[in-house]
């Protein structure tokens, strides 16, 4: 098997063996869900319901009149207990709709799509995707319909389904590819039709050989040429830019998007959820996540309603073996630490990890070993960018391409001096963007 890859990057211990073999477990709906009004990249939503309203499962409860946004649906039927300020896994605190589950099976379903996807208008498919509230479920949570709407001067020829799952510990995409392949390929057909691509690829790291062998025969039945591409297990293979580079040998220009090189990339789980809506009419109200880390008694892959609180999930896993010191949403390389277990699952939650120890090493000053340069997949000089950020030389950081950084964390991972390089680079990016917005220096 010939493996495709990209230059530089790092080989990580992937820690997937704990959960990769565990089938997806459907979680019983909790008594209460909390749905933040911002769960995607783009404009925050406005609630369509009020305190005291009764809602059905699948009913749209928040939307906004903006293109880069995806509506929100009730994952359980019940009563709106309020719209209040609540802990948010990435934004600190944010307004959220709280729904008390009434346990009934009241449900609202959209009309399923007809079998013959290829005869449908792309525009109507895009509306369908937006109405379903779909965002990239890999973690970035970019609204899917926006990705599927290329401007007319930028035709799309290739669609890539991202099944790399390069973050250690996470195995939810792995299980989805194995267990939800049919839904996923239906979702793929919808997205390919919507963006006008002629070919499709499914990129999978070779530490998921079962997915590669499972999907390879299935894609032959698709109405457009589709290839399952085995990728070398190397971080950050799941980064859009590096997936495109590995599969199509195209480099997305600085500040550009995949559509600048004629490509649309989406996550495998997004496709599976979309395929399910096309078949059953259920919008995005639940997702598969991985719960793992050395503190958790029962690890695994769970299908959970959006808005379910982390504390309820922990109770479901029989609690902890040792109290965790660090709780991370997402993978260990890019995930965000949590201050409380009262945070809800949002659309971009790929998992929660619980660690007994804070990994760190004694911090030295930079010894100029060059490991960050050798491993940076964007060919940046992270040591320099980190130093410029420390010294607040943001303009110089900009000329040294700080905005190209994809924040994968490879530099900070390899740094023997324990310097928080991505952290510093993020600070520099933030400052550069802020100054740009102010339109001057």
């Amino acid at each position: 098997m010939k493996l495709r890859t990209f230059p530089q990057g790092v080989f990580l211990p992937h820690h997937k063996e704990d959960t990769a073999h565990l089938a997806i477990v459907r979680v019983p709906p909790p008594s209460r869900v909390v749905l933040p009004l911002s769960q995607h990249t783009g404009a925050p939503l406005k609630p369509l319901v009020q305190k005291g309203d009764t809602v059905k499962r699948g009913q749209k409860i928040a939307d906004v009149d903006a293109f880069v946004a995806a509506p929100l649906h009730a994952p359980v039927s019940g009563k709106v207990a309020g719209i209040e300020d609540w802990a948010h896994p990435t934004l600190g605190r944010f307004q959220a709709i709280v729904i008390e589950n009434d346990g009934s099976s009241e449900e609202f379903r959209y009309d399923p799509l007809p079998e013959d996807i290829e005869s449908l208008e792309p525009e109507s498919l895009r509306l369908f995707v937006r109405e379903g509230g779909f965002v990239g479920l890999g973690g970035a949570a970019f609204p899917t319909h926006v990705k599927l709407s290329p401007p007319p001067d930028k035709p799309i020829d290739a669609f890539i389904l991202n099944g790399a799952e390069c973050e250690p510990y996470l195995t939810c995409d792995h299980r989805v590819m194995l267990e939800r392949a049919e839904d996923m390929l239906l979702g793929l057909r919808i997205m390919v039709r919507a963006c006008g691509a002629q070919r499709a690829y499914i990129g999978i790291e070779d530490n998921k050989k079962d997915c590669i062998t499972h999907l390879t025969p299935l894609v032959r039945d698709l109405p457009f040429p589709t290839e399952v591409i085995p990728l070398k297990t190397k971080y950050p293979q799941g980064s859009e830019k590096h997936l495109i580079l590995a599969i199509l040998s195209r480099e997305v220009p600085p500040g550009g998007l995949p559509l600048d090189v004629g490509v649309v990339v989406n996550n495998v789980q997004t496709a599976a959820a979309l395929g399910r809506m096309a078949k059953e009419g259920i919008p995005l109200v639940e997702r598969v996540i991985t719960l793992s880390g050395d503190c958790l008694k029962k690890r695994g892959n769970f299908e959970v309603p959006l808005g379910m609180l982390l504390e309820d999930l922990v109770a479901l896993c029989d609690g902890f073996t040792t109290p965790p010191r660090k709780v991370v949403m997402g993978g260990p390389m890019t995930g965000i630490t949590q201050a409380t277990l009262a945070v809800p699952v949002i659309k971009g939650t790929s998992g929660f990890l619980f660690f007994a120890q804070n990994v760190g090493k004694p911090e030295h000053s930079c010894i100029r070993c060059g490991r960050c340069v050798l491993h940076c997949p964007m060919r940046l000089l992270p040591y320099l960018l980190g130093r410029l950020a420390e010294e607040h030389l943001f303009e110089e950081a900009e000329t040294n391409r700080v905005l190209d950084c994809v924040e994968c964390g490879s530099c900070a991972y390899v740094c023997p001096a324990g310097i928080a390089l991505v952290h510093l680079i993020k600070l520099a990016k933030f400052e550069v963007m802020r100054r740009r917005k102010r339109g001057g220096k």
């Binding site: 790092v10 010191r325 260990p332 100029r368 060059g370 900070a412």
Partner: protein, 325 residues
């Protein structure tokens, strides 16, 4: 604000196990074969003593500096041990005891601590120490003790034990011309395995290369600088009409290419810069040997290129997503 029970920290939440002291220890391990050979070949008194004094001097002066200027004690990072090893191994066997002490003091204080310590210095500290010794005591630094069967060329005086002073192969080239050195039988073989007079730890190309391969396998160094160093030296040797293998194996070329030019702090970080740096240092080494006043050019070749590192570090790699113009 309510205090959080959990640690809040920026990603990544995984770190490689590589640390600065680990790296430095690997370099020490890699130098051990050559060091042991030096001690065996030259004897404990002629080789081990200067080597130990050099290491102790470097560590001691670093500790002293930290205490004097009330900075955190940094000798635990093992970098002073590496500097001491590199300096000690590049001293002539049988040098007076104060040579490694002064050399270590200069290397650490002038070469490293004055710039702010590990990672901040411009010039390779061990080479700074060696250069100062070379200029200040040229005669001592060119007196080579060796057991009499291995002496080359004209020997001056026999010492009580069966040790004599001898010329080194490069010394013969400088004093008697390039052809004179080839009168030694099996010269290339003797240079390669280390059966010639020379610096304590620089005589065996084989054992130094062995150490370098160890560092490569451990991911501590990259091969780009040593290779381009070798290419630079070979290019000059060919231009001079001399045997490139002789130049690679003689003197401190392997030590310089694999252990001195690859010093993290004083070599460039950019891929293109590293190649130019290595090639330049190798070529300068060859030019000094060929046309310069010193028989050996490793020290000044590398120090000169050290000075260019800030410039070479500006050679950014090709930007992702931008085609070559």
């Amino acid at each position: 604000m309510k205090e959080s029970r959990f640690i809040i920290a920026p990603p990544p939440h995984m770190k490689s196990t590589t640390t600065v002291p680990w790296i430095m220890r690997q370099v020490v391990f890699a130098l051990l074969p050559a060091a042991i050979w030096g001690v065996v070949f030259f004897g404990v008194r002629w080789a081990l003593l200067p080597l130990l004094l050099s290491v102790l001097s470097c560590v001691g002066f670093e500790a002293l500096d930290c205490l004097l200027f009330r900075r955190p004690l940094t000798i635990g990072d093992w970098s002073a041990v590496v500097t001491g090893m590199l300096l000690g191994l590049s001293l002539p066997p049988g040098c007076p005891f104060w040579i490694p002490i002064i050399g270590g003091g200069v290397a650490i204080l002038l070469g490293k601590q004055m710039f702010g310590g590990l990672g901040q210095n411009i010039f390779n500290p061990a080479l700074v120490g060696r250069a100062v010794l070379l200029i200040s005591w040229p005669k001592i630094m060119a007196t080579w003790h060796v057991r009499s069967p291995f002496a080359l060329g004209v020997t001056t005086y026999p010492t009580p034990v069966d040790v004599v002073t001898s010329a080194t192969p490069l010394g013969i080239v400088k004093a008697y011309g390039y052809t004179a050195v080839w009168e030694t039988p099996n010269l290339l073989f003797r240079l390669f395995v280390g059966l010639v007079p020379g610096c304590i730890g620089e005589i065996s190309a084989l054992l130094l290369l062995l150490g370098f391969v160890y560092l490569l396998a451990r991911g501590v160094v990259q091969w780009d600088i040593p290779l381009s160093y070798a290419l630079g030296l070979v290019a000059i040797a060919l231009a001079a009409g001399q045997n490139p293998l002789f130049h690679l194996f003689a003197g401190g070329a392997i030590m310089g290419a694999c252990f001195m030019a690859t010093d993290y702090t004083t070599s460039p970080m950019t891929p293109k810069g590293r190649v130019i740096f290595g090639f330049g240092a190798g070529a300068l080494t060859g030019i000094i040997r060929w046309l310069g006043g010193y028989p050996e050019g490793v020290t000044f070749g590398i120090l000169t290129m050290n000075a260019l590192v800030p410039l070479l570090d500006r050679m950014l790699p090709r930007r992702f997503g931008v085609k070559k113009v």
